[in-house]
Symmetry: C2
Subunit: 262 residues, 2 copies
DNA sequence: TGGCACCATTTGTTGGGACAACTTCGAGAG
DNA sequence: CTCTCGAAGTTGTCCCAACAAATGGTGCCA
């Protein structure tokens, strides 16, 4: 905002303020590039630089032929600690996801199920206590909510457990993976969740339908029995639509609000 | 990578592959814009578009006069579930942070402590069970690790509790906030953690020293007594340097690896 | 009335050029 | 030998121009 700032930064700040103060609301259309060009008396190139800044901040979204609009945020919540207890009663993780979405009045579905065998990367090997390059069974799905892509999930299982529990099928496991594993003595007793964020890779951006300037939430759950790691689930959440929640301690009937904080 | 992709996307893909395959390693210098311009026989404008894509993906970083280099990632870990149990024994949250960093062989410090009184936003009001616009006490700090900015933390307390427990000072509370609150009967029995991600606002990017294409991890912890919310802590983590970990269940001596997964 | 072709509008892509700002490093002055 | 200054190299900002591609609406035609 300083006088010495580059032109395009000043224009970006100006528009950002208009959005922040509510002069431009979510869904509103911005002036066209040509209008902005005249308004600020700069070249169209500079206008595009300014719009690019806001696009990379996730504030606006442009579509060829249509124009540029202020993005609106709809937040969905994933209860990580709570979902686990559901897991144990439900037939599969997918059912926990369904239940969660139903509770929030949404329609959940999943697509593109794939079973593949992949070599363990160093990171996967360290977490699942196998050797780097060992074969792992990968069971991947894409989750959708109300027809919109929501998250990409990829679960990895050690090969011996997969064979023992019948996970080597390109279909759902009858009764659910967790139950099948528990029946063979591989009972889940705890997990470690790791949460990071980064910008999506191009294929992730495509699959999740992410517009420019949307980061992803990377969520890795490693589940353990009393003896060894059983499973690693890697979930890529569309960052602009998702919130992961942990409720821990002896809480009563408290509920988190629906909006996000800052 | 398709033939029909725009030129700048193809150049970006090309360079991205070189980084992914290791032809260009972290810290390596990329060819200059002029060299790339000649190499691909395009205008410098197009080269800059391609570099902008990779910059927004957080893969490279340019400095005026110096050149463009492949970014390297150093991950620090924040144990969210574990930190809480430390909290109860330590004199303050800041001590838990120190201990965590010390365990990872790093030097933690904090700067720019500020005590302010702010009106409750709708989101804050809903979580702390107060009316919108009610006064809240905000105690904010910036955390540094090895001299690098690490996270911005802002804790909000209801006014009545703040007055009762002596939080209205622009200094550390002797013995720690948690102990002071527990002494007055406000004992923490549980919390709700919410994790989201987004691109940083300009001031956040400045304070955290974030380069282009780095998202932030937004971490909101609401702490409860058996009667009411006691505290809301909003932490903004630099997304490229931080990982939040939850260890839940009856786990033994399992430890998470040091690298990130995907 | 329904469908199709066309046109105006708008953003996307790409080229060209010029100068500013910053870093590095070597040559020359002291 | 050290310090300073300036040149060369590199990225940052800004302008202009043209055409491509997608969208939405208009109006003609069946």
């Amino acid at each position: 905002m300083a006088q010495s700032d580059p032109l395009y930064q000043r224009i970006a700040s100006d528009l950002r303020d208009q959005i922040r103060t509510g002069a431009l609301k979510a869904g509103d259309r911005l002036p066209t590039e040509v209008e902005l060009r005249e308004q600020y008396d700069v070249s169209r190139n500079t206008v595009r630089l300014a719009l690019g800044v806001l696009q990379n901040e996730g504030m606006i979204s442009s579509t060829q032929g249509k124009g540029t609009v202020v993005r609106e945020q709809v937040m969905l919540t994933y209860h990580a600690a709570w979902a686990e207890s559901r897991d144990r009663n439900a037939s599969d993780q997918t059912d926990a996801f369904y239940a969660e979405m139903r509770d929030q009045g949404r329609k959940g579905e999943y697509r593109d199920f794939e079973m593949r065998i992949k070599p363990a990367t160093p990171e996967l090997a360290a977490r699942l206590h196998v050797e780097e390059g060992d074969s792992l069974v990968s069971r991947a799905i894409s989750r959708y909510v109300d027809g919109q892509p929501f998250s990409l999930q990829d679960s990895y299982y050690p090969m011996d457990i997969s064979q023992e529990c019948g996970l080597l099928t390109p279909h759902d496991v009858p009764g659910g993976v967790i139950r099948a594993m528990a029946a063979k003595g591989h009972t889940e007793i705890g997990y470690v969740d790791e949460l990071t964020t980064r910008m999506p890779r191009p294929d992730e951006a495509r699959k999740l339908g992410l517009s420019q300037g949307t980061p992803v939430l990377v969520y890795v759950r490693t589940t353990y029995s009393d003896k060894r790691p059983l499973r690693l689930t890697l979930t890529i959440f569309a960052g602009d639509r998702n919130r992961v929640v942990y409720e821990l301690g002896e809480l009563g009937a408290y509920t988190a609000g629906n909006g996000g904080v800052s």
